[in-house]
């Protein structure tokens, strides 16, 4: 895999949901540059080229979007969001929060921390697949990504 050509990072601990997301994006030919990690800690290692990712790149991937599940063991989605927004090499990457909850306080907190968008995971399989498709089309094809490129 071309690590430095990855443009979407999916941070999701639920393997079924990750599988659906991958399959939908693949159908839209958008999955080629998708990378999936199962935890916040692994996301940090990946994004900042640390630990097992340290020797994989010539340069860090120029991510167009990060899709991030809020409810994860270990480092939570909101903690990860904070870390991404506190670093100037990752601060401008659109981060989309993915959650099962409609809790207003949590929504507001994510926006306050700098999330670009907040999506509730549909419970229905087809609706979820559909949402992934719309998501992919918007963030990978229509939205213009920021131009920061972090060189190692």
């Amino acid at each position: 895999m071309q690590y430095d050509s990855i443009d979407i990072l999916l941070v999701e601990d639920n393997m079924d949901d990750a599988e659906i997301a991958f399959r939908e994006l693949k159908k839209g030919h958008l999955a080629n540059n998708l990378f999936h990690v199962k935890s916040g800690q692994e996301a940090i290692s990946f994004v900042f080229a640390q630990k097992k990712y340290e020797k994989k790149y010539k340069k860090r991937p120029a991510l167009k979007v990060i899709l991030l599940d809020i409810n994860m063991p270990g480092i939570s989605g909101t903690e990860l969001l904070q870390q991404l927004k506190n670093d100037e090499t990752t601060r401008d990457i659109p981060v989309i929060m993915l959650t099962s909850s409609r809790e207003t306080e949590e929504i507001q907190k994510c926006y306050d921390l700098g999330a670009s968008s907040y999506i509730i995971k549909p419970l229905n399989f087809d609706a979820f697949a559909h949402a992934v498709k719309d998501f992919g089309f918007f963030w990978l094809l229509l939205n213009e990504a920021p131009t920061t490129r972090a060189e190692l």
Binding site: Q108, I119, A145
Partner: protein, 147 residues
């Protein structure tokens, strides 16, 4: 008009493009209450309830989405973006920046200022309409705005 009930604010000086946007956004979702403002200064008056909008709305009932053309005469869109994202009362309102051309220098600046998204308007009515449809599906339906 109940300015507290506005859920989409469109800030666009080009009337043809505004017309297309309004039509498509209203089609995307029922109950779309859209306000079209043609210049940046008036947009800020609306958002902060000043000037002609003084007393006509309160900041607790913000739109769910602002579409902001950044190439406008008078006060330019980037300054509008800066003011919206620079004030904690309005900073979390989703702002989708729109531009007519690949003025790439602005992309970075807009993201730095806190734009949620940046769209280059495709050329041609059909292409632009399709983009608006996609934009609407995402921001009017899929995205959950802040409380």
């Amino acid at each position: 008009m109940d300015y507290n009930a506005i859920n989409v604010l469109l800030v666009e000086d080009n009337l043809d493009e505004a017309e297309l946007a309004m039509r498509q956004l209203k089609k995307n979702r029922m109950n779309t209450r859209l306000l079209h403002i043609k210049d940046g200064e008036e947009a800020l008056d609306f958002i902060f309830a000043t000037g002609k909008y003084d007393g006509l709305r309160d900041l607790q009932h913000s739109p769910d989405l602002i579409l902001l053309d950044i190439q406008m005469p008078k006060l330019n869109g980037i300054e509008v973006l800066e003011k919206i994202k620079g004030d904690e009362r309005t900073r979390s309102i989703p702002v989708v920046v729109l531009t007519s051309s690949n003025q790439n220098p602005n992309v970075q600046r807009c993201y730095e200022l806190g734009a949620n998204s940046y769209i280059v308007k495709p050329i041609g009515i059909e292409n632009y309409t399709e983009a608006l449809k996609r934009l609407g599906i995402y921001w009017q339906i899929l995205n959950i705005p802040p409380g």
